[in-house]
Symmetry: C2
């Protein structure tokens, strides 16, 4: 057990938990038995679920917690009263060095606040950011910030570029990720002051951990040319949700336009389409900038989606993301002195 990756799971967060959590662990264990799961939550409920999945039991330990942070609780209220919650304890277990990473499908706002309260920020980072994966032509991009920071200055956006490129290397083995700023035009003089300043600093930055490619516009997010898309949390959140809404709208209308015969004739093609764009495949947003890694699974995903976020946790720990971020930060400092 000692050489296994130790994942601290908030077993109470998200819809249909702990059922989907245990199911998800079951799915992930079929592919990968390198992980061990510390399950934080109500012991009786988790035990009941675990009894259904004997094969999972050997890879889990339950740590009983009495409270659950609800989805509609404000982050600050949750942080104040949540010290005996499954979410709090699962993150705190990283400080005691019991676990390597924390995973929750619970209340996002609370997770951001509690993670920050418990885990210190990496030296040099003032604002941790929420990074997500975005499907594009032939791969997945990293995009950040997706909503952790409503307002960001140029220092924050540069930190996001560094952390996002470390994540891109970690998840996709890209040597020098292409980084771009999300803007309203391609030219250097486009956008607000902060984005112009960021452009100017990144343009002159000598570090070679990533390849700064300038600005991109919203319609280029999915064209597959950029690996890391950097923006403030307000814009990133609006862009992400607008894309989700548009994808649902188009897919629904498209499916409506097909009759049964068409569905039958293109069964395998349509199945491939659904598979390629299945949001469960890229479930999991990563809170970057803290001394310990925290992954947020979508609250409404199912067991398969949760299994994908477990796979993400595994990759992050194996490739030592936090150390990668730290070394990138040092390189940038050196670069800016040149």
């Amino acid at each position: 057990m000692s050489d296994k990756i130790r994942i601290a799971v908030d077993a109470m967060g998200g819809d249909n938990s702990p059922n989907k959590i245990i199911d998800g662990i079951g799915i992930s264990l079929k592919k990968n038995t390198d992980n061990f799961f510390y399950l934080f939550g109500k012991k009786d409920l988790i035990t009941k679920e675990l009894n259904k999945y004997k094969s999972v039991q050997n890879y889990c330990e339950i740590i009983n917690t009495n409270d659950v942070i609800l989805d509609d609780e404000g982050p600050l209220t949750a942080a104040k009263k949540g010290k005996d919650s499954s979410m709090w304890k699962s993150i705190a277990s990283q400080v005691e060095a019991k676990c390597d990473i924390s995973l929750s499908a619970g209340n996002t706002g609370a997770l951001l606040v509690i993670s920050r309260l418990i885990l210190s920020t990496i030296e040099g980072i003032n604002k941790p950011a929420l990074a997500g994966l975005w499907p594009s032509k032939n791969k997945l991009n990293v995009m950040l910030d997706l909503g952790a920071n409503i307002e960001c200055n140029e220092k924050n956006l540069i930190d996001f570029s560094i952390m996002g490129s470390a994540l891109s290397k970690t998840l996709f083995n890209i040597n020098s990720p292409k980084v771009a700023l999300l803007n309203v035009g391609l030219e250097e003089n486009k956008g607000h002051d902060i984005i112009k300043k960021t452009f100017n600093i990144l343009k002159n930055n000598k570090n070679n951990n990533f390849n700064f490619c300038g600005n991109i516009e919203g319609n280029q997010i999915m064209n597959g040319e950029i690996d890391v898309i950097v923006t403030d949390g307000f814009t990133g959140n609006v862009a992400l949700k607008t894309a989700e809404g548009t994808a649902n709208f188009i897919t629904k209308n498209f499916k409506k336009s097909l009759n049964k015969f068409s569905m039958l004739f293109s069964y395998s093609g349509l199945k491939q389409f659904s598979k390629k764009l299945d949001p469960r495949k890229y479930n999991g947003a990563i809170l970057l900038g803290l001394q310990g890694p925290v992954v947020k699974s979508h609250g409404s995903t199912d067991a398969l989606g949760f299994a994908h976020s477990i796979e993400m946790c595994s990759k992050i720990v194996k490739s030592n993301l936090i150390e990668k971020i730290k070394s990138h930060l040092i390189d940038v400092d050196q670069g800016s002195k040149q």
Copy 2:
């Protein structure tokens, strides 16, 4: 001719002009002969096109201009040197009361700057906004600002609510349009300071020209529940382009998944789908807040798309949009005194 709506057309703006301009006028005249077109541009080129469409000639007058503002010209450079351009002259014709509205498929940045230089802003408005139409479940929404103003304060966002609801009434005969702010959450305390202040003012606003419905998130833009979506130009532009990119991405992948038999079996359904979401149907963004109305057609649209923007011009003049905006502004002043 005197009781016709007089549309000043920049006949040189956009791809494939003046050819598509004349074709577009031809298409619009088949439905509606209430318009008369003043065509600004190179007389020889326009005459050549007009000679192909005898039926259009009676509804047009050419005003020769020597310069053309190119798509890649900076707005300020264009404004400085563009006084004899088709774009400049077509907007200036509103000041001489020759025309009721101006229409261009040319350089958007230049059009914004030149329109503002020539046409005064409506009293009480400091920032004109670019409003566009966005398809939703069963109708079209108005969304603004789509990029005219990178930074906006609460006064600007309130003005956008007023102007957007006047436009919604004008185009869709909605009595009390539902207005919402684009934000990262539904709750009143979400988002940055400016958006919170705007929420608070609109919540307490007594005027009944529109119905303030609070915040919406990006995934709700297309659900058809809101008529007017208000945001700053940076966020609006990113959201619009992200939606365009997502729609293209999904549509391309979906079509790839269908084989020939499926296409054949669902021919009419797919045709209906394409028709419903054809961007030419909602081609035309409107610059709101000036003493005269200016419509921007998409540069890459074709004749049919251009015909739709002519139809939009016609509705705007017929329903007296500018006066409607002015009367809404007065009502809001009264409201805020209560």
